[in-house]
Every structure is written in structure tokens, then in C-alpha cells.
Subunit: 329 residues, 2 copies
DNA sequence: TCAAGGTGCTAATTCGAATTATTACAGGGT
DNA sequence: ACCCTGTAATAATTCGAATTAGCACCTTGA
């Protein structure tokens, strides 16, 4: 296999020193550095001819920058079961990376331990990249804490609680989004609510439940929380408005109600909180909100750029757009 | 930001030299290297206490290998309009990369010129990876020739004609796949065929048309080739079996025929050749074949591994699976 | 003619870890 | 006292690129 070219090789070909090649390559003109135009041209010509590119590894060893942004996901990125969930994020990430002139490193080699990947394995490659975007519904807290304590530049997609320090993130404002749904339902006369879903564990779940509780408290209406709920349970409790974390749960309720000859939203209103971790039927136009996934991806890369350039700790929540649907009335 | 610990730091704490730390860390016992048990224990204790992990960058610099595989596409990978096309390939690539213990680098930094990315721009980063997988319907011939002549390790997904030398690739055997379709149609009594599509330009198109021509010649039946075809044209020419490169073209013909009150496959048979570059309706069960996209991705990475290890030039065509559908009779 | 000042380039060092060559020292035998 | 052998550790070098200090050469001007 042809050995990769080094600056030393280029230097030899151009009849100059390695240092000169480096200076030409980086277009250095400051600090009393001068290269004669013809020398510069000669070196550039050799570089052009050979297609030489500086070894990013060596470069990074020296100056901590190689224009590579890592993307770490806790599951494989492409498998189609998850594709609908991850894809919009990745679109945004790719789009903004292109703008920033960075390449994306997908950490596929991260060994899966017990079905979950871990960021810090024996031979963690996370430092290959300048910084890293973290993607996944829930992220291991120990991993997060280590990222923070080691000062590795990263941005999480999705809000994260502190982990031994503030965690830089670009999330969705679920609290406001859920409150908004309850507000609208109350305005339509609803007084008996139920929140169906975990409501805990991942921050995204907790935020939704928090928004729900804030809203029902503010309106002084009845609001309960259950992990799972069948149609009977809901009806027996006199509920008129259901909010489900999972899109598929909401769709299931609507279908069950209609099979039973009930009208949605006539007899029961159903709203979904946008978590599509499972495939859901697309023939039910649920009322709910749209998570700005693509925008979150874009903003995460922008935020990462800020982290890299200014060492800040950006935390930002993006608004979710109300989706009218047909299941709230 | 706390500076990361180095082996030098560990060495100081343990009262040994940096070399000793490295030897302990790598558990080296061969080549006349000996470390006293108590010294080893002392070093390990410091490592445990501090949570030190070797900097992978420095490690790679020494090992001449970064276990990064590049993925170059002429368009953005993730946007949903293209997702159906690229995704299965990427699934396979990711899967095999994980097996090989490599990370994937998406060349998003290659700025698009006139809507297309180019591999060799002013500051091509293609050499950043150990090797590279090329993905795209058609690949710029100049780029290809340069890759070959510069001896850059790469594998194309999709068969490619020589470009100043053989081009390593993992493709689909369209010639056989199309011949197979014609064989089946002839066996069912068809004698008047038409091939609808480019049939030229990309190798994938040319291969399909070649298979078609070989088959009609072998069976001594009538077979014409047109770029585009309306339903009237087809019927006027007395055609009984249509093969369309594009899935959407085939679907359009079927729908047009049925609207006209014709039966498919009663009055007209339609087969598609699997090129889904445009979204197509999924309610028409077209007869055709399945391109083994995922498998192609997997094999491409395997082939790239061979290129890297043995400097070979693998060329391989994978068989397409017949899809019965309901539009051939 | 010699210092002053500018120009164009290079030698040497740095980054962190891996590896090879080498040294230091103890103990045993003569 | 001397050599030899084994053991345990270190000094020095390597990887490829970036950077800094400084060297050699050329003009000027007095």
C-alpha cells in the first residue's frame, strides 16, 4: 500500500524544508513570517499535484483542532426501526456541519455493552473529534458526568439535568408545549385530564409531566398521571381529555374509542406529546405538537461551535409548534 | 478547563518514567521487557485513582492507522427525499464498520459546487480516512480516475467502468436480474417488449439495458428501447410487456392503464427495474427485483478492508432477488 | 567598510504515547 | 578485584504537523 504523503515528502519535492510547507499550507503571514511568492507557488503546485492533505491526527495532537465533529448515538443510527426518530436530527446536523466546513464522525465502533453503547470504553475514541453531539432519548449519567468533568466539548440534543455541572444542550421546550395543549383544552371546556406515560426517567418525559402539572394547577382542573391506560380506565374515571407521551399510545386510544362507537373528539379528546419512539399508525391525525427535530440538530452543531470557540456552556430550548389535528374538541 | 492527564503526569506520581507507565498500561511482557510486580502495582494504583485513559490521538499517530472509514456521497445523506435511497446502504455500511471496529466519517465538509459535491476540491479531506466508500448513482469520472491514479484505497458501491484502471466496486448484477425478468415474461407468452428508461449514462442504467438486449436477442423476440413512454405509445406499438428503469414510471403506467379500464396484468404486463430515485406510490405491487442495498453496503466495507490489508482490487456483483408482485401475467 | 535593517527560509522543539536501545545495579563465580 | 549474567528501569527516538527563535543573505546609508 502506498505510504501516505507527509509534509517532509512535499518539502523534498519542492526543495524546501518541512517548516516552509507547513507555513505555506496554513497561509501564515503573521508574526514576521514571510515566504517568497515563487516559493509559495512552487510548494502549492506540489501540494495540488499530489493532493496532499495534512494528517488530521498529527494536526490534532499539536493544536487540538481537526474540523471533525463527532456524533454519538446510544443506538445504531441507520437501522430503519429508529430511522424516523433520528433522521430529522441528523439532517439538521449534517446541514449545519456542511455550513461549518466540518466532517462528521459517526462513532460506530463504540462497543455495545448490554445493548447500550457507552461513550467511555477501554479505547474511547471520542477525543478523535474536536467536539461531539450526543443523541439519544436518555444518556447515561455517568458518561455525562465524565464528559463534563474531563472538559470534553460536547452538546447534548435534548435537555439534560446537571451531571456534576451544567450540561450543554439544545432541547425542546416540552414544558411550554404541554402547557399550551392543556390551555387549549381548558378553553374548550375540558376539566378532567389524564397524563399517560412514564413522566420520569428521561428529562424529556419529566419535562412533559411537569408542564402538565403546572397547567392543571394553574387552571385548577383535575389532572392525574398514570403510566399506562386502557380505554375503560379512562372512561370510568370520567376523563374527557387524554395526553399521551407516546404517539402510538394516543393513536391506539383513538382507534379503540372509535371501535367502541365513540366519537373522537366528540366523546373523548386525545392529544399526543410527540414522542415517537415506536412506529405509530399515520392515519390518525392526532392533536399535539411538532418537535423541531431538524432545527435542534442544526442548533446543536452551532452550539458546539460556540463551545469550541469560546468555551461557553450553551443551554437552549426550542419551541414546539402546535399541530391542530382532529382529536381535540 | 482541567488539562487532561498525560503519561508523564502518571509517571511523576508513581515515581517512574513515562516509558514504564506505557509498558504497564499495555501489559507488555514480551521482548525482554520486565516490570517488577510492586512497581506495576504502584503504577496501576495511580492509574486507577486518577482514571487516566491514554490519549487516542497520540496513540493513532504512532500506529499509522486511524480506524476511520470515509463515506463520500455526492449529495447530503440524510434528507428525507433521498433517505429511502441511501439508508439501506448506510445501514449495511454502519453494521460492517462496527464489526471492523472502525468509525465512519461523513464528508460533509465537501462543499457543493453547482449542486454536486466534488471529491477533489482545493482542500480535499478524503485522505483523512484510512479508506473510503463511494456512494451515488453516478460518480464523476475524473474524480474516479484521480482516486485510481493516486492509489487512494476506496470501494465504489455500484459497478463502475474502468477509469484509467480497474475500479474496485461492489455492485448489483442488473444484467442477470433484467434477463431473468424477460425470461419469465417470455415463458408466460410475451413476445413484444419495450424498455423504458435512460439505458445509458450511469453504469447501473447501461447494465439493465444490456441485460434486456441480451435477453430479447436470446429469445428472438421484439424488444425496443425508449427514454420515456406514455400509455398510448405502448398500446399502439402492440407491446404486451413493459420494463421501466424507474419504479415511479412503472407505477404511473399501471395506474394509467387501470384508469382506462384495462387490466394489469391481463391486458398489459409491467415490470420495474428497481431504480427508486424518485418517490413512488407504494400501493402498486409491481413485479420486479429487489436490489440488495444493505448487503452491498456490508460487502463494500468488507471489500475496503481487503483493499487496506492486501492492496487488492475487489470487484463483485451481488444477485438481485426476484419480486413476484402482481403486474406480470 | 561596516553596521543597521529587512527578507526568506530553516533548525529545533513541541504535542502524547509506543518502542528500541541502553544503562544501572545486584549477586554469583573465578 | 574482575567478569558475567540476569533483572529492572530509563533515555532516546519515532510518528506528522505547527511553531518559534534565529541564521544567512542582501540592500542601504553613513
Amino acid at each position: 500500500m502506498a505510504k501516505r504523503l507527509t509534509q517532509q515528502d512535499i518539502a523534498r519535492m519542492a526543495g524546501v524544508s518541512q517548516a516552509t510547507v507547513s507555513l505555506v499550507l496554513n497561509n501564515r503571514t503573521d508574526g514576521g513570517v514571510r515566504i517568497a511568492p515563487e516559493t509559495r507557488a512552487r510548494v502549492l503546485e506540489v501540494i495540488r499535484r499530489t493532493g496532499y492533505v495534512a494528517n488530521p491526527i498529527a494536526r490534532r495532537l499539536h493544536d487540538q483542532r481537526n474540523r471533525i465533529l463527532g456524533v454519538f448515538t446510544y443506538e445504531a443510527v441507520f437501522p430503519s426501526t429508529r430511522a424516523d426518530f433520528y433522521q430529522p436530527f441528523l439532517e439538521g446536523i449534517e446541514e449545519q456541519a456542511e455550513v461549518a466546513g466540518c466532517d462528521l464522525l459517526l462513532f460506530t465502533s463504540a462497543k455495545a455493552t448490554e445493548g447500550k453503547r457507552r461513550i467511555f470504553s477501554d479505547d474511547s475514541r471520542i477525543r478523535l473529534a474536536d467536539g461531539c453531539v450526543l443523541l439519544g432519548r436518555s444518556i447515561d449519567r455517568d458518561d455525562l458526568a465524565q464528559l463534563v468533568s474531563e472538559g470534553i466539548p460536547f452538546v447534548s440534543i435534548g435537555r439534560r439535568d446537571d451531571a456534576g455541572g451544567p450540561v450543554p444542550h439544545v432541547g425542546a421546550d416540552y414544558v411550554s408545549a404541554v402547557r399550551n395543549l392543556v390551555d387549549r383544552a381548558v378553553a374548550l371546556g375540558h376539566r378532567e385530564f389524564v397524563y399517560v406515560g412514564a413522566g420520569t426517567g428521561a428529562e424529556s418525559s419529566a419535562d412533559r409531566l411537569r408542564g402538565f402539572k403546572q397547567a392543571v394547577a394553574a387552571h385548577r382542573v383535575a389532572g392525574t398521571h398514570v403510566q399506562f391506560a386502557g380505554l375503560d380506565q379512562v372512561l370510568d374515571a370520567g376523563i374527557t381529555a387524554v395526553l399521551t407521551e407516546e404517539v402510538s399510545d394516543g393513536a391506539a386510544l383513538v382507534l379503540a374509542a372509535r371501535e367502541r362507537g365513540l366519537s373522537v373528539p366528540g366523546d373523548l379528546s386525545v392529544m399526543t406529546l410527540g414522542a415517537a419512539t415506536r412506529p405509530a399508525p399515520d392515519d390518525v391525525a392526532l392533536t399535539g405538537f411538532r418537535i423541531p427535530r431538524r432545527e435542534m440538530g442544526r442548533r446543536a452543531v452551532q452550539a458546539l461551535t460556540e463551545v469550541l470557540e469560546h468555551g461557553t456552556t450553551p443551554r437552549e430550548l426550542l419551541a414546539c409548534e402546535f399541530v391542530a389535528g382532529t382529536t381535540l374538541g
